[in-house]
Symmetry: C2
Subunit: 294 residues, 2 copies
């Protein structure tokens, strides 16, 4: 199967799995469930589920075992976007080409949507299925919690918040991004590998890979924010500069940021070499992330 | 050991366990960790940890096995208070006798504090210890997620939000409270029982008990909100009436609400009888919840 077909297939099955994992909009409280579905379904590139499935493919993991971890990381990501867009945070009105959740449903509901989606992520991952061994499933739940918490994504957002108007240096920026986007990207890769029964050396290698890919993803994001337009992105472009936020582009300039993206791509690809052909999907996905334009 | 001594001991060990479970305030991001500790430590009656330990006592569970579930439910509770107090929700300035988290640290940080505390709850419960059998630990994590999510606490808050200014009837009010406060109280009892290795019939009986105690807790809360003063409560009194929120007092009147509290107390106590002396702490705690004045 070529990469584009594989990607479309994973995106479609993730959409179905998310659809099934969320309570029906007819179930009380209806407005909350409607808003949760609005925030999650029918949008997004599903980069984290793709990473989860691609990492699972290294170990020839059946796709249905990867649906739960793929949904779990996407639900955490979706909740973070809803909260990130709130007026007290980025105060944004456009996301995935639609009005943001609080614009559509009000701030209080959007707050609860994020809260409920986070719980839903753990609920999905705690269902039977994602690992043959329950001890490994507990480890996967611990990993998701760490990735989402104050030493992971939420912590990265706190650093981001404190960085507005400050001139961070490159190590500080990397510290922030390894948490803000990196922690959940790392969890996406490692949960897929766990579901496939990966051993400790493989997990360690993939953690190193995921750290490079996470930074690559962020550098490309910063480049796109500085160069693409709002319609292409489906979210407000030029937001970082407008909010006076330090980015790879503001610190390094566009030329050097593009060089850095290339270096990170090569480092990530090099860590995959020992997996040989089994690392094929991760290799393709890394190239896709490096070259994406939206 | 008499009840008051037992209670003080559980509160003290819960404080220590929470203190240990939260990242140090010296660890980056410092402001976030400081704010998380502010929101969790040194306050609160710790009703949910008390219920967890009292339910564990039915099965003679060692107290150190109950610390993780007790912390987990208290962390979920603490996060819900931080988000509930935000300007877009109840917009409250006083909690546990101190300025609310967003008054002290700003709205954006308070939002992240709640988000990070929820993740921390799952992280604590996913550590080794709370159950001898990892399959049971997965079930406990699933239970916590359901209690926190859109069919539990977050769902109850959504119903609460929609109820402002409406005249709910008693079944609607019960529907809301079984979720808003009831779901986490039920989880507190059942997680304690799970940690003690309870079998299915005992869990079912305790679920019934917990539903009664959850409603009892809420009825007493409504009575206190209508009759006590702000200094005694450590939070803003008279808030429900001021926000035009339906309560047991507004629907039933004070006299009938007090009668209902008595009935719920007796129903709860009756479900404990088959446990005999082993149910002693739960019996004492039920009486305490019925008679509390703060």
């Amino acid at each position: 199967m070529d990469f584009k077909t594989w990607m479309a297939e994973v995106q479609a099955r993730t959409e179905r799995a998310l659809e099934l994992s969320l309570p029906a909009a007819t179930l009380a409280p209806r407005r909350l469930h409607e808003a949760m579905r609005y925030a999650v379904l029918g949008g997004g590139k599903r980069v984290r589920p793709l990473l989860c499935h691609a990492a699972g493919a290294v170990f020839a993991t059946p796709a249905d075992r990867l649906d739960a971890p793929a949904c779990a990381v996407e639900l955490i990501h979706a909740y973070s976007l809803v909260h990130d867009d709130l007026p007290c945070m980025d105060d944004d009105v456009l996301r995935r080409g639609k009005p943001t959740c609080h614009v559509e449903f009000g701030e209080a509901t959007a707050l609860l949507v994020g809260d409920a989606l986070q719980a839903q992520a753990f609920e999905v991952l705690a269902r039977p299925g994602p690992a043959a061994d329950p001890a490994r499933q507990v480890a996967m739940l611990a990993m998701l919690a760490q990735a989402a918490g104050s030493l992971g994504m939420a912590g990265g957002q706190a650093v981001d918040l404190d960085s507005v108007g400050k001139s961070l240096d490159l190590p500080d920026l990397e510290f922030m991004h390894l948490r803000k986007t990196g922690a959940l990207i790392r969890a996406s890769v490692l949960l897929g590998a766990h579901a496939g029964g990966a051993d400790a050396p493989a997990l360690e290698r993939l953690a190193h890979f995921a750290n490079r890919v996470g930074l690559l993803f962020q550098v490309v994001d910063d480049i796109l924010d500085a160069t693409a337009d709002t319609t292409t992105l489906g979210k407000t472009a030029g937001k970082d500069a407008a909010h006076d936020k330090p980015t790879y582009v503001s610190i390094l300039g566009l030329v050097r940021a593009r060089e850095l993206a290339g270096e990170l791509r090569e480092e990530a690809l090099a860590t995959l070499e020992p997996f040989g052909a089994a690392g094929g999907r991760l290799t393709e996905l890394t190239r896709y992330i490096a070259e994406r334009s939206f």
